[in-house]
Symmetry: C2
Subunit: 252 residues, 2 copies
DNA sequence: GGCGTTTCTTGACCCAGATCAATCTGCGCG
DNA sequence: CGCGCAGATTGATCTGGGTCAAGAAACGCC
């Protein structure tokens, strides 16, 4: 019950940015009160997405960026043969849709992994605001840059990491992101299926399962279905032989 | 001799953006003459990088973004054990350094694969300009978004593609980028080593070599060291079973 | 609360591509 | 012009993780 339900509790926060517990991670980070209200004014907060419901699909016109407010999203590229490639999972406070700016059309799809709420920011109006508020501009650039660095760390992981390193890195990334959001770094619930995890990490479902079992046999984690307990973050980190303990997925 | 030397010829272009043959691909794309001159005014154009020389290294302070003017760059993450993970190759007109904005520090290294010239744009001053010139802002966002989409396409390739698909996609990406720059799409020189290609594509050098040989046996390409001739782009495209013929690396 | 469906786990086997090893090629340089 | 060497190719062998197949555990959902 832990993480998933605790995350869902965030649905009950006041909607305004300045009341939002995520403001320090999200786009309004570091804004003056007045500027935060201006940002707030262009945002809309549509009804929650149900599990499996799409926020947008590849090919949709691009109108808005989204920030996850509660719950979690899966972003993926649908392939013609009905399969998909999972590109990432997004937790509260994270921005989604940046890759659509180029073609003014979404190049991937995003769906809720559980009941999920988002803040919708019309891109045109956001751009006006960004042009007007230097600190917003600066912070917006940082968030995009972070996204780039995250993808690059992922390229490193897929290019060099073996199955164990991939799963360990994945768990540590979630752990850190939950911690940043005020949740336990050592126990949480996975909102995504084993299939999604494997897809994301370039592994077969069976391999994900086997790696979970192995980590459990070694006493590093306890896994029961969606529930994960990390007993030894240090040992988990030691499994990874890739650079940079720094950013989210930046290994180490 | 073809692509490499022809690319180097670009060194002789007039330095100002408005005289630059790459302007239509690069940051000044679509700017009014006057705005282009303003952008021009903040740029500096340092002496050419020699082959193997670094533009920046992971850990360096972030001051400027760079646009490749001629030649080519390899961007990579250095690993503690002396190995590296190649994250991309950059051709003239492409922006480098965007992933450093977040931490105000470069997270990867960039070195010249051949004699290479760049335009240097101090980030602070660029930000001022971007805030002032909406069309520059818009275009800058598009370039960043494109970079994100490129990384995502790469995640797809590494997550789902086999060795043949990876190499075919790589060749087609280069082909398209050379074409966009006014060079032959069917014959060019690779400025990077087999080792770099393998590293980038998550393959062993030997596998890259074998795939080149196989493609050659099948009559799809002729490979002689750095020189590549693509005899049948259609057949090369048909080898790829991943989504989206759209953007650079977006397969298909 | 039983039943069908989906998700996960585990075992057995196999293969694409890694690794190891040997040779070849072309280039830089004295 | 020949020597040395890094990079590239090719062959032989090995293996991590994919694939296939069979249960087991949860989760709706009547």
């Amino acid at each position: 019950m832990s993480a998933a339900s605790r995350v869902i509790d965030l649905t009950n926060i006041k909607v305004a940015c300045r009341e939002c517990s995520l403001a320090r991670l999200c786009l309004p980070m570091g804004l003056e009160r007045a500027d935060m209200d201006r940002l707030d004014a262009i945002m809309s907060r549509p009804r929650p997405l149900r599990r499996g419901e799409h926020l947008f699909r590849a090919g949709d016109n691009f109108r808005s960026l989204f920030a996850v407010r509660s719950g979690s999203l899966k972003v993926y590229t649908p392939c013609q043969d009905g399969t998909e490639q999972v590109l990432g999972f997004h937790l509260p406070g994270e921005l989604v849709g940046l890759d659509a700016i180029e073609h003014e059309r979404h190049v991937c799809s995003a769906k809720g992994l559980e009941t999920t709420t988002v803040c919708t920011m019309p891109y045109e109006r956001l751009q006006d605001l960004v042009g007007d508020i230097p600190s917003l501009h600066h912070h917006f650039m940082k968030l995009i840059s972070k996204e780039l660095a995250r993808d690059e760390a992922m390229l490193l992981l897929l290019g060099k990491g073996n199955a164990e390193e991939r799963l360990a890195t994945f768990l540590l990334s979630l752990s850190q992101r939950f911690r940043e959001r005020g949740f336990s770094e050592s126990e949480f619930n996975l909102s995504m299926s084993r299939h999604d995890i494997g897809n994301y990490l370039g592994l077969a479902v069976e391999t994900v399962s086997r790696m979970f079992s192995r980590l459990q046999d070694e006493g590093v984690v306890t896994v029961h279905r969606k529930n994960i307990q990390l007993h030894d973050l240090g040992r988990l980190r030691a499994m990874i032989h890739l650079p940079e303990p720094g950013s989210p997925m930046r290994c180490g």
